[in-house]
Symmetry: C2
Subunit: 366 residues, 2 copies
């Protein structure tokens, strides 16, 4: 286990299994359950680090694949690491690069050695191994690295799920050997098959990782297939380490997963939806371009936590989007991340104060 | 004269003619000489009003043509006016819409009644008259409206310059009659011809405008043709009213024009250049995409006034532009507007403290 990371379990809700905890990192303490905004290319799109600080986030996610290609992790290393590069004082987790290799690049071919692919930027042929993924994440200098895994798409056959799991297991050991500094999380695969999830959890959790993730969910499957996997797999993870559900998700999915004992989340939804004019409110998502907002002088959501929401009306935001003004995406991104920040804050408070039913009732339309 | 506007001349530099003053508006006091960032569509591109406040601007410019087409001035009026719409507490000046009609729209045809044109958005045929321009600016509720003028392109014949000037004069009277509330500035035309500038200034400055602008410069002519016009025309304007040089410009052109007695400036340069990766520094403009910045951990300009310049290195900004991240344009815009804000602050200070030579020396490479 890395000396740099320590998980402190503060309390567990006896009725739901939800955990209130803290992750102590070299870049500050992260109150959990937490949501990590996604800063793909070393910035959460449209925002500066000062904006993320103001929103109260303590841990963000960035992408090894993207930063490895551009500007390159060696350059970031020479400049003092990713924290300094993007001027972020909080903690950073990076994924392994594997997911983007699968979803973005062309001509990928997985062997036991690693995965061969062509860059989505310029078609350059590249090769990502567990050792290479660790090297990039070491050079980025992040607080939490993720092991390279094979994340099969949905749907996939049981044979594919088995093969992906076994490859993930072999790479997990190599990642642990290769990671030079900082914490490393292992990833449980196994698709929608309970026996495979059990086998994968048994294997991965025996390894000396600093935390454990459930991978291979939120890859296109319907919500009703995702939740049973989370419900089954979350309790298989050690109680004394952080538990991370990768790529999830919708507010309701987060609430469900916290009940199952998950501590950490990341998702592009709040930021990506914002750029597509879609705002999270307590009454569900609303389309900021809709005609109904054309002359609406108030905020979309009277309960919005976005510090500027009293300043910028729904009518103004609609105008910005209509006029293709870059400020529109920025305001919407701040709005949606403020929604997620509050959601997590209220989840933590509900665990502390035994207020889970009220929380679920409060967010039932969100 | 509008009750809402009052110009206070604090001092005039006896050696240069530069004026230190204040414009008192219904939305606060504006220290002059001043630069107005251009918020074309009700936002300075990439920035919120809180950013402009933080940069210290007191007066911004917005465009009647753009806002009149979208979202429409009647809608802005119903929502409480442009200040409220864009949440800007400072003062606002709008142009008349005439310049954009000339430069952006198709099929424009000028008659004594007004100018017929087709919207650049959807081709709708529209008609802009002096009365219509005043109505739009009244509905926007701005502090300073500009009279509708005819701004001939460069180059143009003397006959065209004469015709544009006479049309501008006839419309000036109609604008004064039509403006319902708030201040109105008249515009002197006359191209590069001193006798026409004299004739235009004689005519326009006899009318009860609240301030006077020199129009028809910075329309494509070389700098060496612009400066003599400013030098000749600025002293023709009344001493007890604000003097505004429209569409200028480069830092050196601003310094020159202040010497000639100009108080107000607007220009898209700092904001537009920012979006094209070009940063103002004390050593001239630099290309933020240049290879030389790839591993440069410091700011582009050690004297940068941008509050976040210590936070975001030249290497990071280059990465953002390379990766087409929206944060790049935002940081560059903040950087350039901070440069202009400091330029104007130091100009005002130089007038107060008899430091003009030092100012010109200091900015000689900018």
């Amino acid at each position: 286990m890395s000396e740099g990371l320590h998980y402190e379990l503060l309390s567990t809700c006896p009725r739901t299994g939800a955990r209130r905890g803290r992750i102590h990192t070299p870049h500050g303490t992260v109150e959990t359950p937490c949501f990590m905004p996604v800063g793909t290319q070393g910035t959460v799109k449209t925002l500066g680090s000062e904006d993320l600080e103001a929103l109260g986030f303590e841990l963000i996610l960035s992408n090894t694949y993207h930063l490895g290609l551009r500007p390159g992790s060696e350059l970031v290393d020479r400049l003092g690491g990713l924290h300094k590069f993007m001027s972020w004082k909080g903690a950073i987790l990076t994924d392994s690069g594997g997911y983007q290799v699968m979803s973005l690049s062309n001509m990928r071919k997985i062997t036991d050695e690693g995965v061969r692919f062509k860059s989505h930027l310029d078609g350059t042929e590249m090769f990502l191994t567990p050792e290479q993924s660790m090297k990039i994440q070491d050079e980025l200098g992040v607080d939490i690295a993720m092991a390279l895994d094979v994340c099969p798409p949905y749907p996939c056959s049981r044979d594919e799920a088995v093969a992906a799991m076994h490859q993930t297991h072999r790479w997990a050991t190599r990642c642990l050997e290769a990671r030079k500094k900082g914490a490393l999380f292992g990833i449980v695969q196994g698709g929608v098959h309970e026996d495979l999830r059990q086998e994968s959890a048994d294997f991965i959790t025996k390894l000396p990782f600093d935390g454990f993730a459930i991978g291979g969910v939120s890859v296109g499957e319907p919500t009703e297939m995702q939740r049973p996997v989370v419900k089954f797999a979350a309790p298989l993870l050690p109680k004394d380490k952080p538990r991370y559900l990768m790529g999830v998700g919708h507010p309701q999915d987060i609430i469900h997963a916290v009940r199952c004992g998950i501590d950490m989340f990341d998702c592009v939804l709040p930021t990506r939806q914002a750029r597509h004019h879609s705002l999270y409110t307590m009454q569900g998502r609303v389309n900021a371009m809709a005609q109904k907002w054309a002359e609406y002088n108030g905020p979309h959501d009277p309960e919005s936590m976005f510090p500027q929401s009293e300043r910028y009306s729904a009518a103004y935001l609609r105008h910005l989007f209509k006029a293709k003004e870059p400020l529109g995406a920025r305001i919407a991104t701040l709005h949606n991340l403020a929604f997620y920040a509050r959601l997590m804050q209220e989840i933590r408070s509900a665990i502390e104060n035994d207020g889970w039913e009220e929380l679920e009732e409060r967010y039932k339309n969100a």
